[in-house]
């Protein structure tokens, strides 16, 4: 099997789907001739022509809004928001239209869109190239929100998203594009070609849109996380000596609650780790669900290790980012209390 970076895996997913399904179209800012600022769509316009893969005006609401119309016509648009930090102008289209179209039309019209967005920090991108806005989407009924953490899942989930009749917000942790970054920013990152999850089939396959993966089995503590934080949590587990069971959620919503509940009932302890701002983050929902479903099994309060409730600063990036040290401390707190 070939190894691919996450960029290559995503590109391969789009290539496969453009090939298989005439109704798939791809557009967004700079994605056409140039192939996107992260080069995710490189070569696709040349291969499929400029009415299947094209550049869009800098208008996120227009990109999503026109995609709703295309979806109503019968196409399956896969659109790119250049950075997740720039989805805000499209909020009304996403919340009021994409998410509710099937419901309000009693199924007459659907919005089978895939909205890709690179998210997360760790690249010195400052306030507007580092955000993790997943909680805005998970609060909106009608949307599916997905975040892969490796090339294999990235391709399989992206194909599943494109084939899915529900709208999917597809968040790509950009710090993982080239390798499994574990938060040790002062060390070189292993490339995906050296990681088992960098092995990716060339052709069509899917990863399930509603199931979590136990990334690392463990006995002492259940860690609920996703995206870049999967690898940071792994480093923190090693460094803290806590035998953590790390669950890579993959699909944030709808959520694979069974896998979570089974694990917490086993370990009796839980930590939630994400890059996003803490208050009202998706971690809050995870905590609420775990305490609801595992209350009598919990031996200590559920820990949240997250980005701080400040904008994402530029120069203080590593004080903001929940790196291995902070995550390990969180694990220890979750273990100590009883």
């Amino acid at each position: 099997m070939a190894t691919m970076t996450m960029i290559q895996a995503l590109r391969s997913a789009m290539d496969v789907m453009l090939e298989r399904d005439d109704n798939v179209v791809i557009y967004g800012e700079d994605v056409g001739y140039f192939g996107g600022v992260f080069r995710c769509t490189e070569g696709l316009q040349q291969k499929y022509g400029s009415s299947r893969v094209f550049d869009a005006p800098i208008s996120e609401s227009g990109i999503v809004g026109t995609a709703v119309g295309m979806g109503a016509y019968g196409l399956r648009p896969v659109v790119e928001i250049q950075f997740a930090d720039y989805f805000y102008p499209a909020t009304d289209q996403i919340v009021s239209e994409v998410a509710r179209l099937r419901y309000r039309s009693a199924g007459e019209f659907i919005a089978p869109l895939t909205i890709r967005m690179p998210c997360g920090g760790g690249i010195y991108g400052g306030q507007t190239h580092s955000q993790s806005p997943e909680a805005f989407f998970t609060h909106v009924c009608g949307l599916r929100t997905v975040m892969p953490s490796n090339p294999y899942d990235a391709k399989g989930l992206l194909i599943a998203a494109i084939e899915c009749d529900d709208p999917v917000i597809f968040l790509e942790p950009k710090r993982l594009y080239n390798g499994p970054f574990d938060g040790h920013h002062d060390r070189p990152v292993t490339p995906w070609s050296k990681h088992p999850l960098g092995e990716v089939p060339e052709g069509h396959y899917t990863a399930p849109l509603d199931s979590a993966a136990v990334y690392r089995p463990g006995t002492q503590l259940t860690v609920l996380t996703y995206g870049t934080m999967v690898f940071v949590a792994e480093a923190a587990a090693l460094e803290s000596g806590v035998d953590a069971e790390i669950i890579d959620l993959r699909s944030l919503w709808p959520l694979d609650l069974d896998t979570i509940v089974n694990s917490v009932k086993k370990t009796g302890r839980c930590a939630v780790v994400h890059e996003a701002t803490r208050t009202g983050g998706f971690g809050a929902e995870l905590v609420a669900l775990v305490q609801e479903h595992c209350f009598y099994h919990l031996e200590a309060p559920i820990e949240r290790v997250t980005g701080w409730d400040t904008p994402y600063p530029h120069a203080q990036e590593w004080a903001y980012f929940p790196g291995p040290r902070r995550v390990a401390e969180g694990f220890k707190r979750a273990m100590e209390r009883k």
Partner: protein
């Protein structure tokens, strides 16, 4: 004051020319005489339509004659069909307003005075062309002869409401009648219409899209977005701005109508643009046809500003006498679209007062019968609505576990 110290700045806040107790001065509309405005070929360059965006295309003159280059080819049958559809729209609205006052409907929005626009436009489109309407284009449905009982079931929110009780009255969706689901959020449908047209072009289809927006709502960002995408990709779409002078209590100048026109927004954006008498059935048909032919010939989008007047209240929650002269419509210089087409047909010798009265009576009977049937299926007031269990459906294609749990929690 010396030259060095400029005079203090002032905020300009536009006002209508008439408020309650006054008479509106409608000269702000800048009308053109019927027949006076040129009709360019459909492959004209957008920038060359500049004059048409500031003039007013009219066909019917004050005496009911069709004059000038925009006179469309319409048979007397088509004209009679149009008149009937307009009348049906108006009578339906009137009936539903009464039903709302009787608390049979929770809410209603009429289109009194604007009937010509949607009805004539619908006749100028082909089946399969898709409309992306607002809440004031029920004429599109009447022109397509949608069963009245179905419409009323939506309005009564009853057990047969095709929207399953999920939408406010009037927020219809009718795929089979080329009528996209109406949103409660203004302007969102405009980029969607453009996207639908783009999709048709991507697939090499021959269908076009038609998007609808009110004067007030052109201030929303999605209007601009729609113009940009329509222009850039030369999308086969008609962008209809229904300028009925008001947005709830807000005069069109607050949306930016002062000293310019809504049609003119298209010119700068590279879109062919027309400003048309929306109360003139013939002008509406002719301009719609011009735009539809243009779009279908791969020549790109057209923006049309339909000048009309919202003769009724904004909705059943509104009382327009609070913010504008109560008798404003009587003085509106473009008159009543139903009366004008009727006059024209009579002039042609193709219609009579008697036929008109008979048609009106027949329509009233049809509507009354439909209402009786629709009421037999219940209403929000009597609780014969779609089940609570159905509320959890269609959020996703298949119901996820958390919604199943919530449905159980509700015990339904």
């Amino acid at each position: 004051m010396s030259q060095d110290a400029p005079a203090p700045l002032r905020l300009h806040v536009p006002e209508p020319t008439g408020r309650p107790g006054q008479h509106t001065d409608f000269s702000y509309l800048h009308l053109s005489p019927a027949g006076a405005v040129r009709r360019p070929p459909i492959d004209t360059q957008p920038v060359d339509t500049s004059d048409l965006a500031f003039a007013l295309i009219r066909v019917l003159d004050d005496d009911g004659n069709a004059v000038g280059p925009w006179v469309p080819e319409l048979t007397p049958e088509q004209l009679r069909f149009g008149l009937r559809a307009m009348l049906k729209t108006r009578l339906f609205d009137a009936r539903m307003l009464i039903a709302q006052r009787q608390k049979k409907l929770s809410f209603y929005m009429q289109c009194l005075g604007e009937e010509a626009i949607a009805v004539a436009h619908a006749l100028a489109l082909e089946p399969g062309d898709m409309n992306f309407p607002t809440y004031r284009q029920q004429g599109l449905l009447m022109a397509r002869e949608v069963p009245l009982v179905e419409l009323m079931c939506q309005l009564f929110s009853n057990e047969r409401d095709p929207m399953k009780g999920r939408q406010l009255p009037v927020l219809y969706s009718y795929r089979k009648y080329d009528f996209f689901s109406i949103s409660g959020n203004l302007a969102t449908q405009m980029p969607q219409a453009v996207g639908w047209g783009m999709a048709s072009a991507i697939k090499g289809d021959t269908k076009i899209a038609s998007g609808w927006i009110g004067d007030g709502s052109t201030a929303e960002a999605d209007f601009h977005t729609a113009l940009t995408f329509a222009h850039v990709y030369r999308a086969p779409v008609i962008i209809n701005v229904v300028n009925n002078q008001w947005a709830i209590s807000t005069f069109e100048a607050i949306a930016g109508g002062e000293g310019t026109t809504f049609a003119a927004r298209g010119i700068g954006a590279g879109i062919a643009s027309l400003r048309v008498d929306g109360n003139d059935f013939l002008a509406v048909y002719a301009a719609s046809r011009w735009a539809a032919d243009r779009a279908r010939s791969n020549l790109g989008p057209t923006l049309i500003e339909w000048v009309t007047y919202r003769a009724g209240a904004h909705s059943t929650s509104d009382d327009p006498t609070k913010y504008r002269p109560a008798d404003d419509w009587e003085h509106f210089p473009l008159g009543d679209p139903v009366a004008r087409l009727k006059q024209h047909l009579i002039k042609l010798g193709e219609w009579s007062e008697e036929q008109h009265a008979a048609t009106q009576q027949a329509l009233e009977a049809e509507i009354a019968a439909a209402q009786k049937e629709a009421e037999s299926y219940g209403s929000l007031a009597d609780g014969h609505v779609h089940s609570a269990a159905s509320m959890f459906e269609d959020v996703y294609k298949d119901m996820p576990a958390h919604l199943l749990r919530q449905r159980q929690e509700l015990g339904v």
